[in-house]
Structures are given as structure tokens and as C-alpha cells.
Amino acid sequence: MLLEEFVEKFADCFNQTSAAAFKPETEFKKLSEWGSMLVLIVIAMVDADYEKVITAEDLKSAVTVEQLFEIVKSK
């Protein structure tokens, strides 16, 4: 499981935000597009691409994309 690939897949979940905005250190909840719909989209992406289940609590506890990557990796 690679961080770079995860950042790309995470960026693909967004419709309105440019892919260039996503880096490991991006604080994703500060992006204007972030909201309850994206919570579901990211949960679905992690389930489909990594066969792991993350919760809304996991997304709440992560501040950056990299922190979320570490949570997914630890599952």
C-alpha cells in the first residue's frame, strides 16, 4: 500500500477540487468540498480499493491525507 497511490485515489473522490490540491499533508477537512457525501465516497473507495472498512470516526480523527492513509494501513 503506497502513500502516493492513496493520495491519488483520495483525490479522485473529489469532483470540484483540483487534483493538484492533494498532497500527503493536505488537511482535507479544510477543503470547501468536504462534507457528509465525501465521507461516504471515501468509505466506499477504501472498501473497494483496499478491502478495508473505515468509519466516520476514523475520518474525524485524521487531519491530513497521510494520517488517513496510516489509519487505513493499520486496519
Binding site: 457528509s36 465521507v39 461516504l40 465516497i41 468509505i43
Partner: protein, 350 residues
């Protein structure tokens, strides 16, 4: 797991009634235009049917049942079972099914009761009427399933308002020595409050505070007489439980997945159903959707989807169907059944 089979049962007919009044989620001003587009594309709901004031779930089911009984040409004296699955009854007391028995002019020898279930309600309802008919050779049953969930939500709550829609359905079931239905029904009450209307029952009776609106976050304002839905938890629940529930049913009953013509899922959320479909490795063309036009109609989504999306096939062909309902409770279940040229009334709009 409650995996079981009920023999000597066949599904004979299906009907549905929806309100004519339609709301368009493109006009749902609580969220931005961009978010509306994302919502429609991701959750899959564009239009919602909303019952007029004074119209109840039992009215919609009654209209559907009248049409179906006429189309089937059933002798009403032969109907021995009437089950009404709803979470929006006419009254707290008495049971609405008694009122329906009278309105439908069914015999006094017909047993009738209500079942309080939501999204899993159609599959559960089929298991209940099928079980009851076991000791009634020649008996016939009416399963009425419907809700007016739009009355239970806050229009200031973006987590529920664009989802729910109203519908009533009727399903005719009868004793038949040549058919059977296989079920796998499950429950997990640990998460009972993931979907809940907390006040108005006897745990938290209606009080002045029940009407106080609380802003839980931006765009989520409701009172305690309105439905709370934790979308992320329900999403996790569906990802965790639905595919294993179906796989267990098919494995235990030795049913080959490829022989199933259609998988009809509770219409909760397109992203959720697509995730489950991919886990099951089922082809997209085998999974019909009525979400775009009718939204989440609670327990009615499965029969409504069958009627509006599979009517042509149901009336003309033999079909192997897998039905799956999941949600409030938490309660979920699936069933496998074969249908053969059943009566499907035209969708009624009132």
C-alpha cells in the same frame, strides 16, 4: 443466522401506488447547486413523491390493493391473511391492518396485524405471510407494505430530506405446492439508534421539549419527533453485512449466483448498492434501480422497484429473484424466490 425455507408458496401479483406530487432534488436549496449535482449522481435520487396532507400510508396501500384484487379477480372471502408493514400507521392504537380489512371488505375470518419494520420490511413480511399460509392449504394472503416517511423528516435536515419519498404497495401471495421461498433474516439491536425518532413513543413521550429544534451541524436541524439518520454508520453496516447475508443464503441453499435473473436491493443509496453489487460480483444489468425517480420509499422500495423496473419480465417470464432489504433496527434480510408470469398492475398515482 436465521436461514430457512418455506415451501408451498407463490407470489401471484404485485401493485403499487405513489403520490402524484413530485419534488425535484435539483431544487433542494439547503445545499449548494454543486452539492445537489454530486448528491444526485452519487446517492442516485433525483425525484421524490410526497403524499398530500391527510393521505396516509394505508391509503396508498389500500389503493394499490384494490387495483390488485380487481386485476387478480380474487374472491375476497378466500383471503385469510392481511399483514401491513409500516412505520407510519394511521393511529398509535388500533392496528391499521384492521381498518384495511374493513376498507378492503375482507372476511371476518381473515387474520390481520401490523408489523413495525422499515427497509427490511418487505422481505420480513414475505416470510411472515408465507409462514402463516403453511397451515392454510388453498389460503391467500395480502402483504401491504408502505410508508409516508416524508412526514417524519425535517426539511431543514440535509441528511434525510433529499432521501425519502412515499409509496404503498400490495403483494398477493398464495399456497402453491410447486414453489418455495428461501430466507436469511438477521438483526443487530446494538445500533438501534442509528436510525431513530426518539420521542413520541413510551420511552420518551411527547413533551414540550420534543418540539425544540436543535442544530447538530450546518444543514442538520431537527426536533426529536423527526427522524435522525446516521448515514456513515448505515453505510458501514451495509458494506459489512449485506453481501455476507446474501452469500450465506445462496451457499446454504445451494443456489448458483449466475442462475439469478435479478438482484432487487432496498433503494437506499446508489453508492451503497453499487458497493454491495461489486462485492457480490454481480453484473450491473442484473441490479435494477428505481431510486432516481422514486427515492427511498422505506419498506416499499423492493416491490416498487420490481413493479416499475421489471414489470414486463414479471408478467411474461419465469424469473429467479434475489430480494434484499436492510436498515432501521438494525434489521436486514434476503430471500430467493421464483416467479412465473405474475399479475402486475399498472403503477397508480394519486
Amino acid at each position: 443466522m436465521a436461514v430457512f425455507s418455506i415451501p408451498n408458496i407463490k407470489l401471484s401479483g404485485l401493485s403499487a401506488c405513489v403520490p402524484k406530487h413530485t419534488e425535484d432534488n435539483k431544487n433542494f436549496s439547503l445545499i449548494s447547486e454543486e452539492d445537489r449535482e454530486t448528491f444526485i449522481n452519487t446517492v442516485g435520487i433525483r425525484y421524490r413523491r410526497v403524499a398530500a396532507d391527510g393521505v396516509t400510508a394505508s391509503d396508498l396501500c389500500f389503493t394499490a390493493a384494490e387495483k390488485l384484487l380487481n386485476d387478480l379477480n380474487w374472491n375476497r372471502e378466500e383471503i385469510k391473511v392481511l399483514v401491513f408493514v409500516t412505520q407510519t400507521p394511521d393511529y398509535l392504537i388500533p392496528n391499521t391492518s384492521s381498518l384495511l380489512q374493513e376498507k378492503l371488505k375482507l372476511s371476518k375470518n381473515c387474520l390481520a396485524f401490523d408489523v413495525n419494520l422499515g427497509c427490511s420490511g418487505y422481505v420480513y413480511g414475505l416470510s411472515i405471510v408465507s409462514s402463516l399460509l403453511q397451515n392454510m392449504p388453498g389460503g391467500k394472503a395480502l402483504l401491504l407494505v408502505g410508508d409516508i416517511s416524508t412526514r417524519t423528516i425535517s426539511m431543514k435536515d440535509k441528511s434525510t430530506a433529499p432521501l425519502f419519498s412515499d409509496a404503498g404497495t400490495a403483494t398477493a401471495v398464495e399456497f402453491s405446492s410447486s414453489h418455495q421461498i428461501h430466507f436469511n433474516l438477521q438483526t443487530d439491536g446494538k445500533e438501534f439508534d442509528d436510525i431513530i425518532i426518539s420521542d413520541g413513543g413510551y420511552r420518551n413521550p411527547v413533551s414540550k421539549n420534543s418540539f425544540t429544534e436543535t442544530e447538530y451541524e450546518k444543514g442538520i436541524v431537527r426536533n426529536n419527533l423527526q427522524m435522525k439518520l446516521d448515514g456513515a454508520k448505515i453505510f458501514n453496516f451495509a458494506l459489512r453485512e449485506i453481501a455476507p447475508n446474501i452469500n450465506t443464503l445462496l451457499t446454504e441453499k445451494q443456489i448458483e449466483k449466475s442462475t439469478i435473473d435479478y438482484f432487487v436491493f432496498h433503494q437506499a443509496n446508489k453508492l451503497m448498492i453499487e458497493s454491495v453489487r461489486k462485492k457480490l460480483k454481480v453484473e450491473p444489468e442484473k441490479v435494477p434501480y428505481s431510486l432516481y425517480d422514486f427515492g427511498n420509499t422505506s419498506s416499499a422500495t423492493v416491490p416498487l422497484t420490481m413493479l416499475v423496473k421489471l414489470r414486463e419480465q414479471l408478467v411474461s417470464q419465469k424469473l429467479n429473484l434475489l430480494l434484499s432489504g436492510f436498515g432501521v433496527g438494525l434489521s436486514w434480510g434476503s430471500c430467493y424466490l421464483e416467479t412465473e408470469k405474475i399479475i402486475c398492475s399498472e403503477l397508480i398515482e394519486i
